[in-house]
Symmetry: C2
Subunit: 327 residues, 2 copies
């Protein structure tokens, strides 16, 4: 197979190295392949007509969508080194006969950690205590254990189920919300999205862990935030545009929400003057919730090679992006 990898020119992303690729290919028993690397659209253009599998991150694939791909007549697969592919949507640019793959499955360990941490920080009242610390105020505030809180996770995929699994081990009953109400082994209960409004008043901690699609954009609207009970907490590890950010900030400032732990924003990076940084009881982390630098590339490549094996066998590709759904 003729493979081309677009890698970042600097270390701002987890670019694949030749050694990582060779190691993962050998571990997967991948048959012989030929491989090229490039940084710029011109680097890709120079080999485009031979490439069967193109690999890159969203920012590196984005400039190739129109024009550069026209010459890629041998292309069959594109592997995006990310789980969320909203940055490449809408998908009209994807040539006929080319399958788009993401790396879902890479992020579960860290997502589980982050969701548990965020839920515990909200359950324990850390946002208020961190503010008290800044003012050197000794102000004890007690809270019930996490296992008594009702946690609702929007999204039962790789990220949401990792959170539900970890929270479940700690005795928390987690409700999942997804497109269908089909049961999921990691969730105590699963409801479809039509049930969301009815679930919100019973939710102590709401976690957004679903893909950003035209359907899910703004799913946590101002009206839905108002449906959460006084003092509820919100966690977002999906995408910033899943929530009405201004409504979230308003609900935190007013005290309707007790706290929020947000890892994703619109836009990213957050500009220094953005109100998010300074909103009361809001903890902001810079899109780090799901990425483990030590395991990210090996896991991601193992997922790629599992898909290549399925592709050669003519089987369904576990990481195929359904471009109509957007994930």
């Amino acid at each position: 197979m003729r493979i081309h990898i677009q890698t970042p020119a600097d270390d701002t992303e987890f670019g694949f190295t030749p050694a990582q690729f060779a190691t993962a290919a050998a571990a997967a028993g991948e048959p012989p392949y030929s491989l090229s690397f490039g940084h710029t659209p011109e680097d890709f253009a120079a080999v485009a007509d031979q490439v069967e599998l193109l690999i890159g991150s969203t920012p590196l694939l984005k400039p190739l969508r129109f024009g550069a791909l026209a010459a890629a007549t041998s292309l069959r697969l594109i592997f995006v080194n990310a789980a969320g592919v909203d940055g490449l949507s809408p998908f009209g640019w994807l040539p006929d006969g080319v399958t788009l793959l993401n790396n879902r499955g890479t992020h579960a360990n860290k997502a589980g950690d982050f969701i548990v941490m965020a839920a515990l920080m909200l359950s324990t009242g850390m946002p208020g205590m961190l503010a008290a610390q800044r003012d050197a105020r000794w102000q004890p505030a007690f809270s019930p254990p996490l296992a008594t809180r009702r946690v609702t996770i929007l999204g039962t995929g790789d990220l949401g189920s990792a959170g539900a699994r970890a929270l479940g081990k700690l005795g928390v009953q987690v409700t999942g919300v997804r497109r269908s109400a089909a049961p999921h082994p990691d969730f105590a209960a699963v409801h479809d999205t039509a049930a969301l409004d009815a679930l919100l008043p019973e939710t102590g901690i709401l976690v957004l862990a679903c893909p950003l699609t035209p359907d899910s954009a703004g799913v946590l609207s101002r009206a839905r935030i108002a449906l959460l009970p006084q003092g509820a907490g919100v966690v977002n590890i999906g995408r910033g545009r899943l929530a009405d950010q201004d409504a979230l900030c308003d609900a935190l400032e007013s005290g309707h929400l007790g706290g929020a732990v947000l890892d994703v924003f619109d836009p990213e990076p957050l500009p220094a003057e953005h109100r998010i940084w300074r909103t009361r009881n809001l903890i902001a982390t810079p899109h780090i919730s799901c990425d483990d630098p030590a395991s990210y590339n090996p896991r991601s490549l193992a997922i790629l090679f599992a898909n290549l094996r399925a592709w050669r066998a003519g089987a369904a590709l576990p990481n195929r992006v359904d471009t109509a759904r957007g994930y």
Copy 2:
């Protein structure tokens, strides 16, 4: 049995109410008793000669130790509504024939929550990210999952074992340190305190969860902090005097320690001018790690009545404080 309860005049502590006591006694099948309540040492003095069981918190029992107890000729048991009784030590004041009980077992749920939260906050690098948020700086920093960190917990009692149990469920290998190296079901390994210096260089996150006694005071000395690896984290939910606080602050300021989550201090409340509040990468919470207001009194009373049942049966009392050891 003739029982007297000293309760706080205000709601600064979790004082028992008559209704809570009656409910717990009925649930435990406690035989008939007579009960009085008081706030001041004079209240106790008025009934001291009849009281067989005296109940109170450390601050309420403290002023009774010398003098008031001399008249308590019927006294057999004192129940301290706390797990750590260091505030009543040394124990020379305890009359012959009177057994001191603590409420260990009350705090486990919340202690498990807090230890997991603190370990995740340190593992995820939250102290540095909270500082970046204060400066509105977008500065991604990635970290490996918690399960790859080595956690050492000093103290394998109620608090430490709750932490080890919860961390173990999340896949963390936890090492316990206690007086003897006897195995403990919640810990992957247990070592005696003589092994501590050898364990520290291998410890990513160190949790102090042991009682404060003459032996344990200052156990996390400046020299031992230096034995921890660069970037290690420290959690303290035991007592402030377990650690050399100034050495902790110095090691955080110098960057030798990556972070600390401290819930206990010397003194408490921490004065506004104390350096703890402002130390780099130090998260300070106001002694709230182990107390759940909803369950604290019911759990504590259930423990008391289990001990009274054992006492009437002439059996060993599970919550008897060994005054020679100090816990």
